[in-house]
């Protein structure tokens, strides 16, 4: 029986991956005042971003509870004995911890659930979940699936270009990028995700420079296997960038995905993300 793969909604997993690879997704929640929406289930991206930009209330996010994980794990355990559950960096969310607790609870009943801290989120998390799912599809046992996930984690590089640091700051995940706060000039902050948290990478003044720098970063890695480009409110930027990269990396798989409500809450509008998966 194949190992089942679980991830969470912050993976922003494109639907085609979820369906084709049979990955289960546990939703986080985004909260506007008193309204609670489960990401990917109860609120569309368009509606979310409209509320984010035009609404009066700023949203907050919340991790799935232990019970939410049990609700996903238990039905899966009727069809399989083993689950690999891969999640958003534990430094960015309590999701991983809650998954661990659910896994421990079920371990008493003989289930084997490996919970993995991806140390990244969104595009990066998708790379890891997909790698694990492929290993499972090819008949790998739980240790092999785990190994595939761990190996992928080592090879993921994430860069994020923001319009403003304000959403990151408000959401509390600013980490070392705090060093970038307070500039009295208009700057576009570029961050990197490393060691599970947000790091300052560089600051640029104009969008054009920012895109050029992002392009330089993408092409500076000699052995790129796959590229993901994420966007929150500017799909055109993502598609233009995709085309630009495709011209110099014709044999590399390059896909785009929209950041969901949880990332949107913490990143804000106008975000462009670059995910690189290096070869082994």
């Amino acid at each position: 029986m194949a190992v089942r793969i679980v991830t969470d909604s912050t993976a922003d997993l494109p639907l085609e991956f979820a369906h084709a690879l049979g990955i289960s997704v546990v939703p986080l929640s985004v909260i506007f005042g008193e309204e609670v929406f489960r990401e990917g289930v109860e609120i569309s991206h368009d509606l979310f971003y409209d509320k984010l930009v035009n609404g009066k209330v700023l949203p907050t996010t919340s991790a799935p509870s232990v019970g939410d994980f049990l609700e996903v794990y238990e039905p899966l355990l009727k069809e399989a004995d083993e689950i690999v559950s891969i999640h958003i960096s534990s430094k960015l969310s309590a999701t991983y911890n809650n998954a661990c607790q659910a896994a421990e609870f079920l371990a008493d009943r003989g289930a084997r659930i490996e919970v993995i801290d991806s140390r990244v989120v969104s595009l990066g998390l998708t790379f890891v979940a997909v790698a694990a799912a492929r290993a499972a599809r090819e008949g790998g046992d739980i240790d092999q699936v785990r190994a595939a996930a761990d190996s992928t984690i080592e090879r993921v590089r994430i860069y994020i270009l923001l319009d403003t640091l304000e959403y990151v700051r408000r959401g509390g995940r600013i980490g070392r990028a705090r060093a970038f706060l307070g500039a009295m000039l208009r700057v576009k902050p570029m961050l990197a995700l490393r060691d599970g948290e947000v790091h300052p990478h560089e600051r640029v003044r104009t969008k054009r420079h920012a895109m050029d720098r992002l392009f330089q970063i993408a092409t500076s890695y000699p052995n790129v296997r796959e590229v993901a480009i994420g966007y929150s409110t500017n799909p055109q930027d993502a598609h233009d960038f995709q085309q630009r990269l495709a011209e110099v990396m014709p044999h590399v798989s390059i896909w785009t995905a929209r950041f969901g409500p949880v990332i949107g809450t913490h990143g804000g509008p106008g975000v462009l993300g670059l995910g690189l998966l290096e070869g082994e």
Partner: protein, 550 residues
């Protein structure tokens, strides 16, 4: 459920009681407002200042013999001017003054008059501040007034309904202030002046509704972020006179001219607020030379009130209040930077972007190698990068390399815009060599336009210049002469080869006014729509405008 009586009009005595209640309510919250006071200077007294201003307001209202609301309002306005304390107190006094003007000589204030008062109050507050910043009491007051207007437009006639809408809007506006003012975001608090204003409006509303005025136990107060406190503390250890002296004067006279007093004060320091009329002028500023401010006061009139306080000391006390030294260490930097710049605004800009030390200097006053060495010696890191920001200062910077034990490198920035771009490219997590490369690349991607007055007649590169004319220098080349700085700037930008550039930043100097800079901004946007334009106060001497194009 008891229905409360609808309040259609506020009489003079009710107005007095309302303001007294608001003052008392503010007194109860003064400490929590003080605790989050980080802008413009972390001196922890916004709450106290606003309360003391209100106390003077209420005293003057009590002394007033007349009964009409308009007369009481005028008395309160006088009290505000006389008793205004600190930056926020002066702004509050202007709000009240604006309200008084709008309300006029009436017996009772109805909803319409109250709302006009709020709108005028907001407008007066903005006018009082030389460099109005959003995300402060100004924003909260403005948005509160807008909400009041909306309430009136949708039919509200009961002043309590209007006030409730005002308080709600003020509260929301206050929550948003960190999104508008970076230092608030850094420190993790909302704006103190805005909070003080909210408390006053809330106090008035509670009084009119007959609600109890007890502060709920365990009310969560704003907590200033530990890291911000640590960084500020580190800054204090490095800088001698970071904020100068907080100087407050009340000048009395006969034909005083607040505008001319303000212009003089702008030359002496910053956070300048000057308000008043020909009989009374209230001055507030932060300056390193309070004596000069006082001399000006005695030169134009007589000093009725004087207060000079050391900002640095108050800031230290503020930090102690939050027990900083016991806790967090700011991230030590691995690479320090020394930047050469002239002008208080410029220094602030560079500091805000993360430089370690600023050496005062520029084209007409080159710093010596000694000046640069002193700054390098004061840097915490062993690796130091110097940004000379002028081609004539590169020499002095290079000489410093030999004369210091530190590993000193120079990125040969030839202008302020290059300096800013280079500094932005620095990343403390990267190696020195990688950083130097990135900074070099960043500086070469920026064009600089410098606009100033010609000190002598000359002819260079086909351009004829008469002494006293304005000249525009683009990337170190003299390009044109013009009659005004704005014309020079605009023509230089129009004539530039800057393909793909999209952002113009106007740093206006000590010889330019904000209004002129903003008008130039408008003209640039119109003539060159491919550019986004940003206006920043540089306060630099000599150059009316320093402009970056990137």
């Amino acid at each position: 459920m008891a229905t409360r009586v609808s309040v259609q009009s506020i009489s003079g005595s009710e107005l007095r009681d309302m303001f007294a209640a608001a003052a008392a309510w503010l007194e109860k919250h003064a400490d929590s407002v003080n605790a989050i006071n980080v802008f413009p200077v972390p001196d922890g007294d916004t709450g106290t200042n606003m309360y003391l201003t209100m106390r003077s307001v209420v005293e003057e209202a009590r002394r007033c013999r007349e009964e009409g609301a308009g007369a009481i309002m005028a008395a309160m306005s006088r009290g505000a001017l006389m008793g205004a304390r600190g930056n926020s107190g002066v702004i509050l006094s202007q709000i009240i003054r604006g309200m008084t003007r709008a309300v006029g000589e009436v017996e009772g204030i109805d909803a319409g008059a109250w709302i006009r008062g709020m709108e005028e109050g907001a407008a007066a507050a903005y006018k009082a501040v030389t460099k109005p910043a959003e995300g402060t009491i100004l924003t909260v007051m403005r948005e509160a007034g807008e909400a009041a207007r909306r309430a009136l437009d949708s039919g509200a006639r009961d002043i309590v309904d209007v006030l409730e809408a005002t308080v709600e809007a003020a509260s929301e506006s206050l929550e948003r202030t960190p999104m508008l003012l970076p230092v608030l975001a850094e420190a993790g608090v909302v704006d103190a002046g805005g909070k003080g204003l909210l408390v006053l409006l809330d106090g008035m509303t509670r009084h009119l509704k007959g609600e109890p005025m007890e502060v709920a136990a365990g009310v969560r107060e704003g907590q200033v972020g530990q890291e911000w406190l640590a960084v500020t503390s580190q800054l204090h250890e490095q800088e001698e006179s970071l904020y100068g002296y907080c100087t407050n004067l009340l000048i009395g006279g006969r034909e005083l001219d607040p505008d001319s007093v303000r212009n003089r004060m702008l030359e002496l320091g910053d956070s300048v607020l000057v308000v008043g009329d020909e009989r009374l002028v209230r001055v507030h500023l932060h300056t390193d030379d309070p004596g000069a401010a006082l001399s000006h006061g005695t030169g134009v009139g007589s000093l009725l009130q004087v207060s000079v306080e050391n900002n640095r000391e108050r800031a230290d006390r503020f930090l102690e209040m939050h027990e900083v030294r016991a806790t967090v260490e700011a991230q030590p930097e691995s690479i320090s930077t020394v930047v050469v710049a002239a002008g208080e605004g410029m220094a602030t800009v560079f500091r805000s972007v993360g430089c370690t030390r600023v050496v005062s200097g520029g084209p007409t006053m080159n710093p010596s190698t000694r000046d640069i060495l002193d700054a390098v010696a004061a840097c915490p890191a062993d690796d130091v990068i110097v940004l000379p920001n002028d081609k004539n200062i590169i020499m002095a910077a290079r000489q410093a390399v030999e004369l210091t034990e530190k590993r000193l490198r120079v990125v040969e920035t030839r202008s302020i815009p290059q300096g800013v771009a280079a500094l932005l490219a620095l990343n403390q997590d990267h190696e020195l060599e990688a950083n130097l490369e990135a900074m070099e690349e960043a500086r070469s991607g920026v064009h600089a336009v410098e606009v100033c007055r010609a000190v002598r007649s000359t002819s260079m590169g086909g351009v004829k210049v008469r002494e006293g004319q304005i000249i525009a220098i683009v990337d170190d080349e003299l390009k044109l002469a013009a009659e005004t700085a704005e014309e020079g700037a605009l023509r230089a930008l129009e004539g530039m080869e800057a393909e793909g550039a999209s952002l113009v930043t106007l740093y206006y100097g000590a010889d330019s006014q904000q209004a002129e800079a903003e008008s130039l901004e408008g003209r640039i946007r119109e003539a060159l729509p491919q550019y986004d334009v940003e206006v920043v106060y540089g306060g630099q001497p000599h150059y009316n405008y320093i402009i970056s194009v990137e």
